[in-house]
Symmetry: C2
Subunit: 561 residues, 2 copies
């Protein structure tokens, strides 16, 4: 069931209402940020908004339209209430959260609708076409690309958020073929719970895991933290069903085919602009016997990058490998847990000194998380090979304790953004991917672009990066940047940085997104990404499957043309 | 360079002119076929045609069109000669070869053009649009789906075969990212030679390897014999360029992306109906240290199927695993080499007797080829695991000698078809794929459909099948069927069998093709395969990228609508 339906989610920020980032457990973090960014933790710039503070116009949908929708889904499954409308009118991008701090709700949806099955989805789309309503499908609501906010809705009589939260059932699990047929509204924890109960896992754990759904993962081509081992969501989907305003695209449930261009890959990544993904047949795996995470330290980023490349090209494939650059390693060190005994901390200090004698440090080095999941006996082998290779390539094995710590805290950092925004810190992430031969080059250029764009506004910034998902041919780069907000020009500042970073990504051989998708925030760059002829193909698909243009207008494709 | 340009290929049948199937080395085969099918090897039904026997109308392209083409590619790279036109007017399907035996050339191309680069391809397409010429791109010419024969060309002033044979260069090899940029006209041996010279392989070895090209592999979503280990061609292509009549679709050279629906997967499988694939960035692997092929025997097909499934689901992934059903095992046994010493044969007979005491036989059993490729030390491990698992699942390990024999002769069987057709035998293959839970069911239904359709004509037939490419979730089934031709109704007979088999594939959860593609022969079934909404999407792509419809008309999509 939807987080918002249960009222357990923070509509004005990240995550569950009863979870907050615990600064006390990480006593070094605020002083570090104060030093690096010059912020004053005593002087917050923003407070969290209340629902009443958000200016919300009356819903626009005419009564006839609302009645028609109600006839489809029933009175209990449609809402024009303030909470539902506000919570469904944006995702969780920095731009979204910043505007909520400003009490700005630029483009609210007019109603939220919860269909209970594919037939109701189809009927809702029919109503939408008849009554000129735009439809924005929503899974967990964690989009960081502006994919959920109504855009380009001139000419429509209103906008519906189509929340799939009530389509959350596991329909079939086939242990022989190791596939599961699931409804698209199943959220991460619901899905894993249902699979785990029968001894299986999907292996898809994005940072948004608790607040995102199968349909959203597929629609945005998501990647989990363990994608190096399990693959991106595209590799996990064997077949799907997508309801369009004109019918249903249903791909055959076969492991592979040669019957023309892949309709499966045409639906994946469509971000609700062609139809509503309602069902997927997923490739599942046995639930791992062992989760074994380790930490390593390299003298520099480049040495760690070479180690990952070598590992994957030798077919030594961990579930997860992440490599932080120098800035992120230092930041993570500043943000480390400071709880535990004084003795423990003293031992840590001694260990750090011993490391530094050998040329390794958390100030100048590069920290790697290396995770293995699966059968114990196989993992033993794999870990042995991977760690021995890393050592040969200059890595220092810190043992499993830092790996366990990373694993334990892996969903916590997302909660840091809200309090930092309150303190007046611009804080965002962006990601790309490229081949190994180009990785360090692209890394440097994007980093420089972000830094320069921040400094142009007169501020100091932190630009941190890690290799997040790796392949034999290359890897993704995930950037995390912080800077004091330029007061009164907060959005312009972010736009400048985002634009400069994306410019560098396009110029130096990256992709505008490796796993967040396009949404609204990247849509301007799609011409560079896919070219005129590619756009022509994508536009033709849109016109064929959604001739009235009701499906998530203003997303994925650049405006006009 | 194109086989036909060098004049080394059999235009009226399979393969190289200087290679024929050697019946003498397999003395048991003809008696076996005589027994099973009642054919008389002394009374051939057909002879091979001569070029002069083929009725060929004058080329239709008006002089202005030919002049324009000549201006693009130069006089040496265009031909309206008899040999080139006849050899480029069809592929190598049973239907194609049968009609050539009948001296029928139903739809000849009017000219053959050899562009030397992407610019020339684009210029040829411009001329085609201007002069209303249909364009059929051709790689190696080994299509078995009728993809190369001009169809639905009413309203065109003529048809060009666009032979990519002169675009056959390796443009770049990047050892760091393990990728190679190649022109689409590189044929299998050319590509492997260029990669091998630098220590790499692509690992793509379809049965057509010697007579097919990179562009054709991609356009038809081909699978090599070693796809279980290396993946299908779709997994090997990281990026590509496709020239359309209106521009170029060029996908970014990145290992993965989330930037909208995959344009890469939209070009793959397009079979020349959207544009001409001119270039691909391929994922390459180190050339294997070891090729290690083994033979095993299972008591029945079902036991072998379970062993493959178990193997893959335990992540024990060989380069190649093939499992013949009872009919194919018996056929292969009849077709085994009978050369070698009398002592050797006596030893073989003794071994067979010993096997039969343990319940294994080549008459009722199921033969498996299990192949490993890679580093010696890793292969040792993998082979140990795979063979031990197969033994546990009831397999008898015959050693490496039968594996080596299969490997050695793996391109020979394709040469058997021509002499059998001459003898009046209908001989064709077809393939599908499904999930493990459905595999034996689909296997039985398709087998029965083919058998019944053959017997309806009064003949006896052999229907043999093997599991050819396997995945964690399922596998492909490759059928091989033989029956005496129904004299005077040879094409109708084939159509009846093909239709009945495809009907069963659609009804019982298969796909109309796992790796041959759609072409003309499967195009009627695309509505069942992808549904009305899927077709709408594919048609929209065609209209957007090829608005004048010059690209390979009458293929992939069903007529009309």
């Amino acid at each position: 069931m939807s987080d918002y339906v249960e009222g357990k989610s923070r509509w004005f920020g990240w995550g569950d209402l009863d979870v907050s980032f615990n600064m006390d457990d990480r006593a070094g973090l605020l002083p570090y940020l104060r030093g690096e960014l010059g912020i004053d933790p005593e002087k917050p710039l923003f407070t969290e908004p209340t629902l009443e503070e958000m200016t919300l116009p009356e819903p626009r949908i005419p009564a006839a339209g609302l009645d028609a929708l109600e006839r489809v889904v029933g009175r209990d499954n449609i809402s024009t209430g303030r909470f539902m409308r506000v919570s469904h009118s944006q995702g969780k991008s920095y731009r979204d959260i910043l505007r909520m701090r400003m009490r700005r709700l630029d483009h609210p949806v007019d109603a939220v609708v919860w269909p209970r099955g594919e037939d109701e989805v189809a009927a809702v789309l029919k109503v939408a076409v008849e009554h000129k309503l735009a439809v924005i499908p929503m899974g967990g609501g964690s989009s960081v690309t502006g994919a959920l906010e109504p855009m380009d809705t001139e000419g429509f009589a209103g906008v519906i958020s189509l929340d799939l939260a009530r389509m959350n059932r596991l329909l079939k699990l086939d242990p022989t073929s190791r596939t599961a047929v699931v409804q698209a509204g199943m959220q991460g924890p619901e899905l894993e719970k249902a699979l785990n109960a029968q001894g299986y896992t999907l292996g898809h754990f994005p940072e948004s895991f608790h607040h995102s759904a199968v349909g959203g993962w597929i629609a945005t081509r998501s990647a989990g933290r363990q994608s190096t081992g399990y693959g991106k969501i595209e590799e996990m989907v064997m077949a799907l069903r997508m309801v369009t305003p004109g019918g249903v695209v249903s791909t055959r449930r076969v492991p592979h085919t040669a019957a023309g261009p892949s309709l499966l890959h045409l639906c994946m990544g469509s971000e609700g602009t062609l139809g509503v993904i309602t069902e997927a047949t997923l490739r599942i795996r046995p639930y791992p016997e062992v989760f074994d995470y380790h930490g390593l330290l390299f003298r520099d980023f480049s040495a760690g990058v070479s180690a990952i490349r070598e590992m994957l090209q030798q077919d030594i494939v961990p579930a997860c490998v992440r490599l932080s650059d120098r800035s992120e390693t230092a930041l993570a060190q500043a943000a480390r847990y400071t709880t535990g005994s004084r003795l423990k901390r003293r031992l840590e200090d001694l260990a750090l000194k011993a490391l530094s004698l050998r040329g390794y440090s958390f100030d100048g080095g590069s920290f790697m998380v290396l995770g293995f999941e699966g059968e114990a006996v196989k993992i033993d082998d794999l870990r042995g090979q991977a760690i021995s290779l890393c050592r040969k390539m200059g890595g220092f094995h810190l043992g499993s304790s830092p790996g366990r710590q990373w694993y334990k805290g892996r969903y916590e950092l997302a909660y840091l953004r809200d309090p930092l925004i309150n303190l007046g810190v611009m804080v965002d992430t962006l990601e790309t991917a490229t081949t190994w031969d180009n990785l360090l080059h692209l890394y440097g250029e994007v980093r420089r672009a972000i830094k320069e764009a921040i400094e142009e506004g007169g501020g100091r910034g932190i630009v941190a990066c890690h290799v997040s998902h790796s392949y034999r041919e290359g890897a993704s780069l995930y950037y995390f940047f912080l800077a004091p907000m330029e007061k009164g020009k907060e959005l312009e500042q972010w736009e400048r940085v985002k634009k400069r970073a994306t410019r560098a990504i396009c110029d130096y051989g990256g992709t505008i997104s490796h796993h967040h998708g396009v949404g609204y925030e990247h849509s301007l760059w799609m011409t560079e990404e896919v070219g005129e002829e590619g756009l022509r193909a994508l536009r033709a698909l849109k016109e064929a499957l959604d001739p009235q243009g009701v499906m998530n207008p203003g997303k994925l494709l650049p405006r006009g043309g």
